[in-house]
């Protein structure tokens, strides 16, 4: 991003008179600050304080209600040397993210493309596919627990029609995470909506031109559709990574007594953190955990950002 920006400025520079450019740029900069001012103000008032507090808290024995003494790196030390469950939870979370993010992203793109084909009843179809995204919260997870019942649940009943004997999803440690991913795939609607919005920006003339060249469906998809929606794919990937690492409520509701069972297979990082914070009142430790998670996500996001210029195509930026 930095380089693009610099390029832009450099390219503009020779075209304008030096004197005016300076004042123009200053005025422009000032306006830029005005535009982002609401966020800066909101950040300073509502977010920065709690964030800094949680950073400080991670070096203390904060228990939410009384103690808040500085204990240095103790929480961090304990995490890496003395908490086996932390590693289990990290592994579970990585497993979940690595499989669910690519699947849901690809699924949402495909769904959006299908729903952008102008077939009869498009509006109805879009509403139907968006429905699961509207349903949220505990009720949905309880619903899915019923649907995933081994012999009377809907999922295994459907599977049995095509001759597959479904697993005991939520009670078999090997199948709990796939069950959750399966459930996530059901509610692709949110991602679908993003891509649908972005597909409206793909000019029809591009397709028409391609058709005249005799391009088939797949060529059109890979050479026109896909490049044009890369900014949103990029957005979806970054936010899904962030969201995926923070998976919590699904496991909290759907695992045995909210503890991440069976056999810790649903003990995700945030669930472990929640237990530490609100069951044991070891909030300082939970805050330390959250900052380690922050670093993990940050590294992945930076990698994502660094790779982005290679494949993300912004129509609005003047790129080579």
């Amino acid at each position: 991003m930095q380089t693009n920006l610099q390029k832009n400025i450099k390219r503009q520079a020779p075209n304008k008179k030096p004197k005016r450019l300076f004042s123009m740029n200053q005025k422009e900069e000032f306006q830029g600050y005005i535009f982002i001012a609401p966020w800066v103000i909101g950040f300073l008032i509502f977010t920065a304080g709690p964030l800094l507090f949680s950073l400080y808290g991670s070096f203390t024995n904060f228990n939410i209600t009384s103690s808040l003494s500085f204990i240095g790196l103790d929480n961090y030390k304990r995490m890496f040397t003395n908490d086996g469950l932390m590693w289990t939870s990290l592994w579970n979370t990585l497993y979940y993210v690595a499989i669910s993010v690519p699947l849901t992203t690809a699924g949402a793109v495909l769904l959006a493309v299908l729903l952008n084909q102008n077939v009869p009843g498009t509006r109805l179809f879009r509403t139907i596919y968006y429905l699961p995204a509207v349903l949220s919260g505990v009720g949905v997870y309880l619903l899915w627990m019923q649907l995933l019942s081994p012999s009377s649940g809907l999922v295994n009943t459907l599977l049995s029609w095509v001759g597959i004997e479904g697993p005991s999803w939520l009670s078999d440690p090997a199948w709990t995470k796939p069950a959750l991913i399966f459930m996530k795939l059901w509610s692709l609607g949110g991602g679908m909506l993003l891509y649908l919005a972005s597909l409206q920006g793909v000019s029809k003339s591009l397709y028409e031109a391609a058709e005249i060249d005799g391009a088939n469906v797949f060529r059109k998809f890979f050479h026109i559709t896909l490049p044009m929606i890369t900014p949103i794919i990029f957005f979806d990937l970054v936010t899904s990574f962030i969201g995926g690492f923070q998976i919590f409520q699904e496991a909290y509701v759907m695992s045995d007594s909210g503890n991440g069972g069976p056999a810790n297979s649903l003990l995700f990082y945030n669930l472990h953190m929640w237990n530490k914070a609100f069951e044991v009142f070891d909030m300082g430790y939970a805050m330390a955990m959250s900052w380690i998670l922050f670093i993990i996500i940050l590294v992945l996001t930076v990698i994502n950002l660094k790779l982005a210029p290679r494949w993300v195509h912004y129509d609005g930026e003047d790129r080579k």
Binding site: E28, I45, L114, P132, V134, G139, A197, V238, M283
Partner: protein, 298 residues
């Protein structure tokens, strides 16, 4: 493709057969898409059917085994009973009040901020944008307690302010989303408008918002959905039951020992309905022709 060429050479009425084959192909594609969409819809809808079926069963039937796919008796009165279990009319008004402000706040603030990040170069832009992204990466519940304390200090407890006001200062997710959309809008558009003497405010309000309508609609839908379904916010900040929202109201069906599944499902479906209707209406912004870049592309 070779077959088309072949046909073109052999058939006398070159042009019409060429068109015929294209329309035929298009029809084929549409039929396949249609079949996939219908099959997929059935898959998507079957869990929802389960909700509907449960919502009209008697508790006796809910408790029986094996579960029935078609209710034996249809107890539509469950819906009436569900509505009467809590002051839902009041909760609906409360929820609507919050939601309307949150949607307005989100659409205005986020598009405004995102425009700044996407289209105006200024010093420190990338660093600030990195901080925007970073705020998403800290799990909410470690900041939950300090945030609560903050709102308590501001005297905002038991008001809707903690739920509404932050929406007017942008949220990382929406800023990022709209920034991505704005980046796809060509800079020439801005340059052209500037030559005509337009300010950035004008360009944002009169050019970018209309051009990015599908994206704005997406933010509006997400915000509506988020505020409508928000559970933790109202739970934490509201102490007065008359100020409760729908999601809190739905909790009354979940008991300590026994959940009233039929009423819970009936209530959930009713709460869902406005969101569905809204989505159905908002879809007019997702029709082709609402092109982001159509204006600029020749």
């Amino acid at each position: 493709m070779s077959t088309i060429v072949h046909k073109e050479n052999t058939v006398v009425q070159k042009k019409s057969s060429y068109f015929q084959s294209v329309t035929f192909k298009k029809r084929m594609v549409k039929t396949i898409v249609m079949v996939i969409l219908i099959l997929g819809s059935l898959l998507i809808l079957s869990p929802i059917w389960w909700m509907v079926a449960t919502s009209v069963k008697s508790m006796k039937e809910v408790m029986s085994y094996p579960p029935t796919f078609l209710p034996k008796e249809w107890h539509w009165d469950n819906y009436i009973q569900a509505i009467q279990s809590a002051p839902f009319a009041r909760y609906t008004m409360n929820t609507l009040f919050i939601t309307v402000f949150v949607v307005i706040g989100n659409v205005l603030s986020n598009s405004f901020i995102a425009y700044g990040f996407a289209k105006i170069p200024f010093k420190g832009r990338n660093v600030l944008f990195a901080i925007v992204l970073a705020t998403m990466m800290i799990p909410g519940f470690v900041t939950l307690v300090p945030q609560y304390v903050l709102y308590a200090k501001l005297g905002w407890l038991n008001t809707y302010l903690p739920l509404i006001v932050p929406a007017f200062f942008g949220s990382a997710f929406n800023i990022f989303l709209l920034r991505q959309f704005f980046l796809t809008i060509p800079n020439e558009l801005i340059e052209a408008a500037k030559i005509d003497g337009a300010s950035h405010f004008f360009i944002w309000w009169k050019i970018f918002i209309p051009l990015a309508m599908p994206a704005i609609a997406t933010v509006a839908i997400f915000s509506f959905n988020g505020a409508w379904n928000d559970f933790l916010g109202p739970l934490l900040f509201i102490n007065d039951e008359t100020m409760y929202t729908l999601q809190l109201g739905l909790q009354v069906f979940k008991g300590q020992n026994a959940t009233q599944w039929n009423l819970l499902m009936a209530g959930s479906l009713m709460v869902l309905l406005p969101v569905i209707i809204l989505f159905f209406i908002f879809q007019r912004y997702f029709i082709e022709g609402m092109n982001l870049t159509a204006g600029s592309k020749g």
